[in-house]
């Protein structure tokens, strides 16, 4: 038995050519299940929730074994304490939005129930929809209600199956931020299915890449998505940097926040509404890192970080430069830049990063 | 459908008969067939039902009712041949109780508190039910026995209620008790109007000759013998 918070080992034959065979270990935090259509993501979540029976395997959340084919254990769904957000909403059509969200709170004290409902309505901006029936909701509204319903119950494990695919980019950013916050305050392990790198980056502390029913890559988003040898992945994603940083100071007149990456540099990022001392997560696309031989002045970029090239990876017309400046960064450049700057492993380099390129996740 | 008759069997004679004849009539049908070579097909139902059917053109040849009123009604409507209307048997009611229970001597015994239910046919439409009611009324028992009176759709059902022990006693037809598992004793015939079971040939019968022969057989000695064995007495006479 591993000492991960959640342990998922499953085998299930789907059809002649596809057998799902996954082995995931999750911590408190959001783990992304990433993979192309038909790779078995939904089936994995269903098996964990008990919606379908795997052929064999073992599922453990904390010290509760939800399923174990050898011991013949298979907890009934209602005892699994697993929240799930479905790909096709599955909101109860005969209940109002309010009743849907309250559905899992039947045994809660009246007042807490009301408070939770309010909190969920705020979080997912569904206040004005509470009295409506799901049939009259738009696609994105349904997804938000589905999220609220599953999260309201404070499950011990949250399974999200492309929960925000129908939501526009603005709403998506807001929801992702909310989800991240929920996940952090409630310390729920989350298994999150998506094929959007943006979502994976924004939420994921860990990514599992599924292909034809098997986990073909796993690790932090940084490792997985920057692992240059994953060619199929490279086609699916855009490489990014993810940094955890502590808010050090706000310069609101300049529209900036200074955040220190532990063991690394101080980043100047667009003003965030987080208190000094709190931890924020910053996403930075490898494409957005500009490289220079030495610091330059008189440009709008707010960050100028000196470091050392650790590795230069080439695949065709793509070049990825790995840089160490206390923490590891990935920069993606065209081959011409490598020659013109004379970059080589071990050599010095300066990263120029716009504040605006640092996205708060 | 009709099958190709190997022995050129004639179309059976259709006889509509009141339910209380169910025991007796098959035998009379056999007699008729032996005598004429023509089979008889019986339709047993309540007299009320059969009357309605005949009024709406049911293709019966003979109608043997459980009383006289309905035949008269049909006669008035021209649904039966007037010249064939004839009483063929007189029915009697009896006091019946479940086999093995204490014997009842008279209607008075129905007051016995051990008797919770007294089954009779529905006097609203069943001739024997009406007779039972008359008898009880004459014995001044109708009102006091009200709480016990239990009505059945017909005389056969009333008998079943007694047979099964759901009603401790009842007033039913002699023609029915004979074939059932109840014990019984006569009820004084003066207590109720005689039940003149009347027969007639149905107007428009395509085999009215055969139908008349059936009526003759019924009224004749052989028919009467069978009826007597079933508990009927000859028409227009006492028990």
């Amino acid at each position: 038995m591993s000492d991960a918070l959640v342990e998922i080992r499953l085998r299930k034959r789907l059809h002649a050519e596809l057998t799902l065979e996954v082995d995931l270990e999750l911590g408190t935090g959001c783990s992304i299940l990433f993979g192309r259509s038909g790779s078995g993501k939904t089936t994995t979540l269903c098996a964990v929730a008990g919606l379908c029976r795997p052929d064999a395997g073992h599922v453990r959340v904390g010290d509760r074994v939800l399923y174990d084919s050898e011991r013949g254990t298979s907890l009934p769904m209602r005892q699994r304490r697993v929240g799930m957000i479905f790909q096709d909403d599955l909101l109860f059509p005969h209940l109002s939005v309010r009743e849907n969200v309250l559905y899992g709170l039947a045994h809660w004290p009246r007042q807490e129930r009301g408070e939770r409902l309010e909190a969920m309505a705020d979080l997912f901006a569904i206040g004005p929809l509470l009295a409506r029936r799901p049939a009259s909701l738009s696609g994105g509204e349904k997804q938000r209600v589905g999220l609220a319903r599953a999260i309201a119950t404070r499950p011990q494990l949250l399974l999200c199956d492309e929960p925000i695919s129908a939501i526009d980019q603005e709403g998506r950013a807001v929801l992702l931020a909310h989800l991240g916050r929920v996940q952090q305050t409630e310390r729920i392990p989350v298994l999150y299915v998506t094929h959007s790198v943006q979502e994976a980056m924004a939420l994921g502390e860990q990514v599992f890449v599924l292909d034809h029913g098997r986990v073909v890559a796993r690790g932090t988003p940084l490792d997985v998505f920057t692992e240059p040898r994953q060619l199929s992945l490279a086609r699916l994603t855009r490489v990014r940097n993810i940094l955890s940083a502590t808010v050090e100071q706000h310069a609101s007149d300049e529209g900036l926040t200074l955040a220190r990456v532990p063991g690394g540099p101080v980043l100047r990022v667009p003003l965030v509404a987080a208190p000094v001392g709190s931890t924020i997560i910053i996403g930075l696309r490898a494409d957005d890192v500009l490289l220079a031989r030495q610091p330059v002045t008189g440009i709008s970029a707010q960050n100028m970080l000196e470091g050392r090239v650790t590795e230069i990876l080439r695949h065709g017309a793509d070049v990825e430069v790995l840089i160490d400046c206390g923490v590891r960064f990935v920069a993606s450049v065209v081959p011409a830049a490598v020659t013109s700057l004379g970059l080589e492993p071990g050599g010095p380099v300066c990263m120029i990063i716009k504040a605006r390129s640092c996205h708060l996740l | 459908g009709s099958r190709p008759a190997r022995t050129a069997k004639p179309e059976p004679l259709a006889v509509a008969a009141a339910s209380d004849l169910q025991a007796a009539f098959p035998e009379i049908g056999a007699l008729f067939e032996r005598e004429t070579g023509q089979p008889v097909r019986f339709a047993f139902a309540s007299t009320g039902t059969l009357t309605q059917q005949i009024e709406h053109g049911a293709p019966f040849d003979v109608f043997a009712a459980a009383n006289e009123d309905f035949i008269r009604r049909l006669e008035a409507g021209g649904h039966v041949l007037s010249d064939t209307v004839a009483p063929y048997a007189r029915g009697h009611i009896v006091l019946a109780w479940r086999k093995g229970a204490a014997r009842l001597e008279s209607l008075e015994d129905l007051r016995d508190p051990a008797i919770h239910f007294v089954a009779i046919a529905n006097p609203a439409h069943a001739p024997y039910g009406r007779a039972a009611r008359q008898a009880l009324e004459h014995a001044s028992l109708w009102d006091p026995l009200q709480p016990k009176i239990t009505l059945a759709e017909n005389i056969r059902q009333a008998t079943v209620m007694i047979e099964m022990g759901n009603a401790e006693a009842g007033i039913v037809a002699r023609s029915v008790v004979a074939a059932s598992g109840v014990e019984w004793t006569e009820v004084d015939a003066s207590l109720y109007d005689p039940i003149e079971q009347t027969v007639a040939v149905v107007a428009g019968s395509p085999q009215s000759d055969a139908a008349r022969r059936f009526v003759q057989l019924l009224l004749g000695e052989a028919g009467q013998r069978v009826l007597a064995r079933s508990g009927f007495s000859p028409p227009g006479k006492g028990p």
Binding site: - | G1, F44, T49, H56, P59
Partner: protein, 217 residues
């Protein structure tokens, strides 16, 4: 004890024919009630249920009044087409159908109403006529209710006694009538035997329907 099996054939024949009739007449009504709004819909809905409320014998009687040889319709049919409906197998079929049609319409309507209209709209958008939509989408998606209703109608027709008795005029015997007659005649063992036969028979029929509909229903 020797048992005449003809009533069984006749019963099967009548109830099959009656079920066909019920399906043919009941389906459009169920569909109308489920999908259309018209004046007097509640009334039609309630009227359709009337055969359940009236004693079957009396129901048969009304059929006689309506179709009997002395009714306007009956006279017309008899004189001009030489058809006598009452006191014949077709009459019994009609009676059985009249008695069982509510059992079909009600669940069929409920099932049709439960079919999401969106699927019908998709079919229409794909160019299909209303008729085709009904057959390829509505009824297949409502099949559980339809089959449930049809099975009930069939079973009810098989068991119909009062209405059939009234209309059939004792010319034929269905199993129900045979049971009743045997019971009336005090021949309980015969009645029980007949009940056993019809029970086994109906179980076989229901079981085959179960199998045919994929083990469910």
């Amino acid at each position: 004890m020797s048992v005449d099996l003809r009533p069984l054939y006749l019963t099967l024949e009548i109830s099959l024919a009656s079920t066909v009739l019920v399906l043919a007449a009941g389906t459009p009504i169920a569909w109308l009630l489920a999908r259309k709004n018209f004046f007097g819909k509640h009334l039609v809905d309630a009227l359709v249920m009337q055969p359940l409320v009236i004693p079957p014998t009396v129901l048969g009687y009304y059929l006689l009044v309506l179709l009997g040889r002395s009714s306007a319709l009956g006279r017309f049919l008899e004189q001009h087409l030489g058809i006598v409906i009452v006191f014949s197998v077709p009459g019994a079929v009609l009676a059985a159908a009249a008695a069982s049609v509510p059992l079909y319409i009600k669940p069929a309507r409920a099932a049709i109403e439960s079919v999401p209209r969106a699927y019908e709209d998709v079919a229409r958008l794909l160019g299909r006529s209303e008729w085709s939509v009904l057959w390829t989408v509505t009824l297949p998606l409502a099949w559980r209710g339809i089959v449930a209703g049809a099975v009930m109608a069939f079973t009810r027709a098989m068991g119909d006694f009062g209405a059939t008795l009234m209309v059939i005029g004792g010319r034929f015997q269905t199993v129900s009538i045979a049971i009743y007659d045997a019971w009336q005649a005090g021949d309980l063992s015969r009645a029980n035997l007949l009940v056993l036969i019809i029970t086994v028979f109906s179980i076989l029929v229901l079981w085959s329907v179960s199998r045919l509909t994929g083990g469910r229903i």
